[in-house]
């Protein structure tokens, strides 16, 4: 494995990168050895992605040197990087859905027989590759028909199908995967490693990084804090290096309301055309109801339906009154807010922070038909301070904010509207530890003041930490309700969500 005596495969020497107003990377020096899995961790804005993009040839570095097997690389574009032996696997998939698995893997270098494509050879080579990593997919299947997890594996196999590739760069490889799929990915990464190739990956999930990597590098504000082998870095220490402070991961719980409960939202026999089975559920005012489910459990459909993006069958009562929510506008008028699963569907990237915050309360910002820009600024400033959005500049465009801060802006938009019910779908996915902590705490504070939150997540630890109650969804159906999640083990939730008969069966 990693032998410090041996010469490193990849040497990154004093690499720096400046963007207008930000020093994204400052003098990064890092060695990567052959056959190692190297995790790069850090909060959003720490420079992880910048480093990956430089290695992958997507953006040029300002200064410094990158050597692969003692050969200096210029890495001007992704093609040159690939030729040199560095392959970047993108976070968002870049496969062509209407081409087959084989066609995608050999895209741009299809084997030829005369002037026509040698399909047999291509499918055969693909089959060999798939077998080598025990991926059970038909080389002729259209990529669009595969699951997200399978597509991601194909993407990785595509990268290593270039036999000369020595360095594989993975950007958040597990963000779209469920527990079982993650294990499978790790298995494949191990095999790639055993072939002598090196893997560098960035992730927000510290526990995963600890699990699969040999060495870990922590970046903070564009600088390298530490590179060390795994035994020397446990999760607490890593968080300390990332944030500069110790976070007690346990003491987050707020006391659930003990007074008599008002039913804020009552769902009776709710279903959709796709999810035939019905859901019945009461959500109490001032509680955080966690809806836990894996991909395809129907949790996002439920959220979108409650906000008027999808048609729901059944009866919804809001504080006792039956309501029909068939358009987001109606949901908003009823006092429901919604933070979508993917923040890209919520933010207007071209508009500055303040305009994004006031987007849902424009009507209140008007006097005599004229937008009160000053008032908008005040509202925005209030939330920028309250949520500690960084940089604290309300004129900055959303595009230039880190993921965690973007998410805070989205939260601010709804809080500014003072909704009765806030639906949050995976609100802390893909954001850094610090922001995660702040958002969760802020939400808890708002709940104390009477906000009702439907908190959707596929992270069992987050579910336990956030929920006054946890409802587990599978195949569009409530399988279990945990009324008192304190002290619950994550395996119980996962077991319920993945269909293993195990755990407390409570009635909600």
């Amino acid at each position: 494995m990693v032998n410090p005596e041996s010469t490193p495969t990849l040497v990154i020497k004093n690499v720096s990168k400046k963007f207008p107003g930000v020093e994204a990377l400052k003098n990064i020096t890092l060695d990567i050895y052959s056959g190692e899995v190297h995790a790069v961790l850090g909060e959003n804005g720490a420079g992880k992605s910048t480093l990956m993009k430089i290695l992958g040839g997507i953006i040029p570095r300002d200064s410094g040197e990158i050597l692969l097997e003692n050969k200096s690389l210029r890495l001007e574009n992704p093609r040159l990087a690939l030729q040199a032996g560095i392959a970047l696997v993108h976070q968002d998939l870049s496969l062509l859905p209407y081409l087959s698995v084989a066609e995608n893997i050999f895209l741009g270098r299809w084997p030829k027989k005369g002037i026509s494509v040698d399909w047999e050879k291509m499918n055969e080579s693909t089959n060999q590759l798939l077998n080598r990593f025990q991926v059970k997919v038909d080389p002729r299947a259209l990529v669009g028909t595969l699951s997200v997890a399978e597509q991601q594996l194909i993407e990785i196999l595509k990268a290593i199908s270039h036999s000369h590739v020595k360095i594989l760069l993975l950007d958040e490889p597990t963000s779209a995967l469920s527990g079982e799929e993650i294990n499978r990915l790790f298995q494949i990464l191990k095999e790639i490693k055993n072939e002598g190739k090196s893997i560098i990956f960035i992730s927000h999930k510290i526990n995963e990084a600890v699990k699969i990597s040999n060495r870990i590098t922590v970046l903070k504000d564009g600088e390298k804090v530490i590179t060390d082998t795994k035994p020397n870095l446990d999760e607490q220490t890593i968080i300390y290096h990332m944030t500069g402070k110790y976070i007690n991961l346990k003491n987050f719980h707020h006391t659930p309301p003990t007074k008599e409960k008002t039913i804020a939202l009552s769902l009776e026999e709710i279903g959709t055309k796709f999810y035939k089975k019905k859901i019945s559920l009461n959500i109490y005012q001032g509680e955080i109801l966690v809806v836990f489910g894996l991909m395809g459990s129907g949790k996002t459909t439920l959220a979108r339906g409650l906000f008027g993006f999808e048609t729901l069958e059944g009866t919804i009562r809001l504080f006792g009154n039956p309501v029909t929510i068939n358009h987001p506008k109606i949901a908003i008028q009823l006092g429901i807010g919604y933070i979508p699963e993917d923040r890209r569907f919520g933010l207007i990237y071209e508009l500055p922070v303040y305009a994004n915050i006031t987007l849902a309360i424009l009507k209140k910002m008007i006097r005599n038909g004229v937008l009160q820009i000053k008032k908008e600024h005040e509202v925005a400033k209030h939330y920028v301070q309250a949520l500690r959005i960084k940089p604290p500049n309300i004129f900055r465009e959303i595009l230039y904010l880190s993921g965690g801060n973007q998410q805070k802006v989205l939260l601010a938009r709804w809080l500014a509207r003072e909704p009765k019910i806030l639906i949050m779908d995976e609100p802390t996915r893909g954001i850094d530890v610090g922001a995660k902590f702040e958002i969760r705490n802020f939400v808890k504070g708002m709940v104390q003041k009477g906000l009702t939150v439907i908190y959707i997540t596929s992270d069992p630890l987050e579910a336990i930490e956030m929920g006054d109650r946890i409802v587990v969804l599978r195949n569009g159906q409530i399988v279990t309700t945990f009324n008192n999640p304190l002290g619950l083990d994550k395996s119980e939730i996962l077991a319920a969500a993945s269909g293993v008969h195990y755990g407390r069966e409570n009635d909600g």
Partner: protein, 346 residues
């Protein structure tokens, strides 16, 4: 360094929605003021090449020439920021001008009533675009391209394909345009051309709509991210319909100004003006895919095109060559703009 910028910016009252975070002066000038530099450079070149260029009468002449394009470009700016495109601008101008002229010269309507009718008809035509696109769920490009033909046809039907007023029909009724309309296109106040004043008023109104109304903010929002706008309670369809309706209204006004300037309307006037308005908007830095843009940029863009046409005329460049140069300049500016955007993103 970063923090200093933030505090500085917060103290400064920012009126325009900034399209990027200002860095140093070079960035500011190169990345933001691209078209302004082009305009100054081009003007300097023509001023040095021709002694007539920088005379007051010529400058006013440039303004007079670009005013109709400018009025329509104001509307086009809103349409493009909303991530749409209006290819029917030319026919809308012809329709508004023709209807107004027919009402005033053949039906004996007074100036105000005739002008009102022309503008309203053009606006209704604009609403048709909007409804087709928003309710019929067809691409903006296709909707307005189809209507480009249809509106031109309606204008031809209304005018019988003849100039208005025309010698053939003028004898029957009062066969001339009211002086007020002619003044609107050809008159002036203290030497400032009336059409320019109209254009400046329309720019002011557009600025107000974009910067100071929730409708304007909605235009930016739906152009930037339609789904996010919808999820924030903005009525996307309604906004789209009104943007195209406003485009019709602006074009109607532009049509009246053009009719006044030529002292005649005809159904085939303002041909190809849609491309000039799009060019002015894009040269002005508005993102052709929506979400970003300023009316000030469009103003610079339209003036730049006017200066180019005027300067090439003064230098006696052959008209055919003028077209070639015009095309090259537009493409160059857009290439520069793309480069600028890449710089801003990376």
């Amino acid at each position: 360094m970063d923090k200093n910028h933030s505090t500085k910016n917060e103290q400064k009252e920012r009126v325009l929605l900034p399209s990027y975070q200002p860095g140093n002066l070079v960035h500011l000038v190169l990345l933001k003021g691209g078209s302004l530099i082009g305009l100054i450079g081009l003007s300097a070149f023509f001023a040095l090449s021709s002694q007539h260029f920088l005379t007051i009468s010529n400058v006013l002449n440039i303004f007079r020439q670009v005013s109709v394009v400018l009025i329509a470009a104001c509307a086009q700016t809103m349409v493009i920021i909303s991530a749409g495109i209006d290819l029917s601008v030319g026919p809308l101008i012809a329709l508004g001008g023709s209807v107004g002229a027919v009402a005033m010269s053949y039906w004996g309507w007074d100036f105000l009533s005739g002008a009102f009718l022309g503008v309203i008809i053009a606006m209704l035509a604009g609403f048709t675009n909007g409804i087709l696109i928003a309710k019929g769920k067809i691409p903006d490009f296709i909707g307005t391209l189809g209507m480009l033909g249809a509106f031109r046809g309606v204008a031809l039907l209304i005018t019988d394909g003849l100039p208005v007023p025309s010698h053939f029909t003028a004898t029957a009724l009062k066969g001339y345009l009211p002086p007020a309309l002619v003044w609107l296109g050809a008159g002036d106040i203290f030497q400032i051309p009336a059409p320019m004043i109209v254009a400046l008023i329309m720019i002011g109104i557009t600025w107000f709509i974009l910067m100071r109304t929730s409708f304007g903010r909605s235009i930016y929002a739906i152009g930037g991210n339609k789904e996010a706008a919808r999820a924030s309670g903005i009525n996307v369809e309604w906004t789209k319909i009104w943007v195209y309706g406003l485009s019709g209204l602006y074009c109607g006004i532009g049509g009246l100004v053009l009719t006044g300037r030529m002292n005649s309307a005809n159904a085939l006037m303002a041909e190809g003006i849609e491309l000039q308005t799009i060019a002015a908007v894009v040269i002005g830095g508005t993102n052709l895919f929506g979400g970003q843009g300023t009316i000030f940029g469009t103003f610079i863009g339209a003036i730049l095109m006017g200066v180019l046409a005027n300067g090439l005329n003064l230098l006696n460049v052959e008209p055919f060559w003028q077209r070639v140069i015009n095309g090259i300049i537009i493409v160059s500016v857009v290439i520069f703009d793309q480069w600028r955007r890449r710089k801003l993103i990376s």
